[in-house]
């Protein structure tokens, strides 16, 4: 299978993500340039972390107008798999591919630290290689990660089991303290109702090699590979 990593002006985790997918996980991976209209036949699109367009206006707000993002939107609407990491998550919210919005972290601090998240739903294309309740140790690095949605939307995403990850402590307990940015319902990762688009604030690409302190992030990439390579075999 082939991954595509989007490059926007101000993306700064594009090379890390590319490195993990290509060299650590070992799958064909290409960069997708923001001015292009070509998704190069990829099976999954990854929107990497960073500060696209300097976070001007609102995080992710300008990126959604780039030519490539129109293709990503159409790809997602056709059922293509899209993973948004950190700024990528913010872009997916601004694009309307995921419900809700991001507010500034509750303590108004940029948070750059290892945290824990719990897999709330492992029957997704992004977590099927993991176990329900499994705790992952992955770093975050963001200013605007305080997830917000109107109450009605929170009810819907709960009912549809769209909450994929929640902030927790090392033992897997979801507490106010563990919810470092103040996200509603402790939401750290969220998918759309159809299940082909997911965004998360933690950086799995920074936790995919033992040398860097954690390999827990691999579970997300490996899940996608399981789904897409199986699909590919079936199609052939």
């Amino acid at each position: 299978m082939k991954f595509g990593v989007v490059m926007l002006p101000g993306s700064n985790c594009d090379h890390d993500t590319f490195h993990v997918l290509k060299n650590v996980i070992g799958r064909d991976t290409v960069f997708l340039w923001h001015k292009d209209h070509d998704l190069q036949g990829v099976d999954a699109v990854v929107l990497p972390g960073g500060f696209s367009y300097g976070d001007y206006l609102r995080s992710g707000a300008i990126a959604r107008f780039s030519p490539l993002m129109q293709e990503v939107k159409a790809f997602a609407r056709r059922g293509g798999h899209v993973l948004g990491i950190c700024n990528g998550f913010q872009i997916l919210l601004e694009l309307g591919l995921l419900p809700g919005a991001m507010l500034r972290n509750k303590d108004l601090k940029f948070l750059c630290q290892f945290i824990h998240v719990r897999i709330e739903n492992n029957r997704t294309d992004f977590t099927r290689a993991g176990k329900k309740g499994q705790v992952l140790r992955i770093p975050i690095a963001h200013f605007d990660g305080n997830y917000y949605a109107p109450d009605k939307v929170i009810e819907d995403i709960r009912a549809n089991k769209q909450i994929v990850f929640r902030y927790c402590d090392a033992d897997g307990k979801v507490t106010d303290e563990a919810n470092v940015n103040g996200s509603m319902d402790g939401i750290a990762g969220l998918m759309n109702a159809r299940g082909n688009v997911m965004g998360l604030m933690p950086h799995p690409e920074r936790a995919s090699e033992a040398l860097l302190g954690s390999e827990d992030g691999q579970v997300i990439f490996r899940s996608l590979i399981e789904v897409l390579e199986h699909k590919g075999r079936k199609a052939r």
Binding site: L57, R58, A61, E94, G100, A101, L103, R104, N105, K106, D107, L108, Y148, A149, P150
Partner: protein
């Protein structure tokens, strides 16, 4: 024509920056400040646009780009005629 658009958080959305400003004002002794909300101001200069056209155009721009309707509201006014 020049228009000014004010974007701020909806009342239902917590505004931690506004609260911090309020707390700072209280620390300085301005106890009468009951609430502080922070927002963004945009000024757009529109070329060859009538007032009627502006009434259609500006809300469209505000909704599509300047404000995120999930968390923000906006008001606007004409600050300078042609």
């Amino acid at each position: 024509m020049k228009v000014r658009i004010l974007v701020s958080f909806k009342d239902s959305v917590l505004d931690p920056q506004g609260q911090t400003v309020k707390n700072a004002l209280h620390t300085l002794g301005y106890r009468s400040v009951k609430e502080a909300r922070q927002g963004k101001v945009f000024e757009l200069e529109l070329d060859k646009v009538s007032e009627e056209e502006a009434r259609k155009l500006v809300p469209e721009i505000a909704r599509k780009v300047l404000a995120n309707p999930i968390i923000e509201k906006y008001t606007w006014q004409i600050i300078q005629d042609e």
